[in-house]
């Protein structure tokens, strides 16, 4: 079973954002090539350098947005994980799961809360930075409602009720 990490509304918003970023990135890349093929003074070189930087920045952000949008959560008989561009990036086996809880991931605009499944008991400080944990931790922004019974059946530890109330959608 797979599902997108985005809601339908977020998908539309991000698709638009990606189109805008791609258009701006391509136009900026063309500007950079044009500027460097028409250098006539020091100012052209400086502005061209900034244009290259800007083009690379836009295209890189575009890549990360595409990567984020391609992320799929999945569960199967072995365990659960996240795939990006069709490749498994994070995976945890059902039998390895020792703790289910809530923690946060840092973002540029404040931290976001996530439900996590981890192969060991986390300390308080580790819950505020789920990304950088070196061991197996899968974190979801929500648990799809159709997955919940299957997950509950396979998990060695039960999903706490108050957590299920908040995260199963």
């Amino acid at each position: 079973m797979t599902c997108s990490t985005y809601t339908k509304k977020a998908l539309v918003f991000h698709a638009l954002y990606i189109v805008l970023l791609s258009a701006a990135g391509v136009l900026a890349a063309y500007s950079a090539v044009y500027t460097f093929s028409h250098i006539s003074c020091r100012e052209d070189v400086i502005a061209g350098g900034f244009t290259v930087f800007f083009a690379l920045l836009l295209l890189s952000v575009d890549f990360f947005e595409c990567r984020a949008m391609s992320a799929k959560l999945y569960v199967n008989e072995d365990g659960m994980g996240v795939r990006r561009f069709g490749k498994t990036k994070v995976f945890i086996r059902w039998d390895d799961i020792r703790e289910i809880g809530t923690g946060s991931i840092p973002t540029p605009f404040g931290s976001k809360e996530r439900v996590y499944f981890c192969d060991r008991m986390l300390e308080e400080g580790q819950r505020s930075d789920l990304i950088t944990l070196k061991y197996h931790t899968v974190h979801f922004s929500y648990i799809p409602r159709d997955w919940y019974p299957e997950m509950n059946r396979r998990l060695p530890v039960p999903i706490p009720k108050e957590l299920a109330d908040r995260y199963v959608r």
């Binding site: 063309y30 028409h38 006539s40 003074c41 100012e43 502005a47 840092p106 540029p108 950088t132």
Partner: protein, 371 residues
């Protein structure tokens, strides 16, 4: 239309910055109050410059509004740029699971400090470049002969008097022109804009009247004259400036000066034919925008342009292939020399980098006439 686009762009930039503000700042009273003050003062200064500054006398209040807008636009633009850089850095740090980098990038204080520091680092040289004029000289050999072996042409453009050039910049311009002692002075448009007051134009008239050169002062219009609240023509005419709107004149030494309207609709050969100018004589074309330059190849010997302000903001280079053929400096189109001046002042905000405000001096040398 242009105004609406400009206001939409600036307010859009403010809105994006507000959206990206860290939530924790909005929860604390002091940061929230400072944010509201910053954006309110900035947006008010933008609107005042567009709609009210032209009614004000030159003085501290007007200066305060213009400098507030300069700081606001710079800090907002860099904060926005930095937020994209931060996003990129964040994704990289997440990919490599680099805890310390993530901590730094998550810190709103670090972000604010970085935005202020980068803005300050940019503003120091760019304000200097905006308010300090220099003379930039180009030596231009022309493979034609006329009644003289050399002609020095000074090009001054983009005063944007009021919001752009203040009296001190016009004084500097006059001093540089006196020192350069050119044979002819060309004014390449945008002498005023929506921020110019009648007093500003009167001061410009006084400065231009005080300029002396052998063959006179000629003017071609720019794109901002149409938004000016006061018609600049009477001021220019009283100062002894000849206005060339798709017109040309032949100087006593045989050199043609052709001034084009901002729209660049009428071709130079047509203007020269209408004015009875000799097509074989050396020809200097004065046009505000650096567009359609390849069409002047073989027709004009020198084309002087303004409009671009060089690169007033380095990221404006991104518009280069879509808006203009050349942004700044000298380039050859066949045998035609194209020179784009960065202008005497700037528009919108008082910063200019990497270019600097300038008086452009073109020293033309001609082939000796056959005996």
């Amino acid at each position: 239309m242009m105004w609406f686009a400009l206001i939409a762009a600036l307010l859009g930039m403010s809105a994006l910055t507000i959206i990206q503000t860290p939530r924790e700042w909005l929860k604390r009273p002091l940061p929230l109050a400072l944010l509201i003050l910053f954006h309110a003062a900035g947006i008010a200064s933008i609107l005042l410059i567009l709609f009210a500054v032209y009614r004000m006398q030159d003085g501290p209040l007007r200066e305060l509004i213009i400098w507030t807008e300069t700081v606001y636009v710079t800090v907002t633009a860099f904060a926005l740029l930095l937020s994209v850089v931060r996003y990129f850095g964040f994704e990289l740090a997440r990919h490599f699971r680099h805890r310390r980098v993530l901590r730094i990038l998550s810190s709103s204080t670090a972000f604010l400090l970085a935005a202020l520091l980068i803005s300050a680092a940019y503003m120091v040289p760019s304000i200097h470049n905006a308010v300090t004029l220099r003379t930039v000289t180009y030596d231009v050999p022309v493979d034609k002969s006329c009644g003289t072996d050399a002609l020095s042409v000074a090009v001054i453009s983009d005063f944007h008097i009021g919001g752009g050039a203040r009296r001190s910049e016009l004084d500097q311009m006059a001093a540089l022109l006196t020192a350069a002692d050119p044979d002819v002075i060309l004014i390449d448009g945008d002498v005023c804009d929506s921020s110019s007051s009648a007093d500003d134009l009167a001061y410009m008239e006084e400065i231009l009247r005080g300029l002396h050169c052998r063959y006179g002062v000629f003017y071609a219009e720019g794109n901002h004259e149409q938004e000016c609240r006061f018609d600049p023509d009477p001021y220019l005419l009283r100062a002894g400036v000849s206005i060339l709107r798709d017109e040309g004149v032949q100087l006593e030494n045989g050199v043609n000066i052709v001034g084009r309207r901002n729209a660049l609709v009428t071709g130079v050969p047509r203007i020269m034919a209408d004015c009875g100018l000799d097509a074989a004589a050396p020809t200097v074309v004065l046009q505000h925008r650096a567009k359609g330059l390849s069409q002047l190849e073989g027709i004009a010997d020198v084309v002087a342009c303004g409009h671009t302000h060089g690169y007033q903001f380095p990221f404006l280079g991104i518009l280069m292939p879509y808006q203009r053929d050349i942004s700044y400096g000298h380039r050859m189109y066949g045998e035609t020399h194209v020179i784009v001046s960065s202008g005497v002042a700037e528009w919108g905000y008082r910063t200019k980098w990497p270019s600097q405000s300038e008086v452009t001096l073109i020293r033309m040398s001609f082939k000796e006439a056959a005996a």
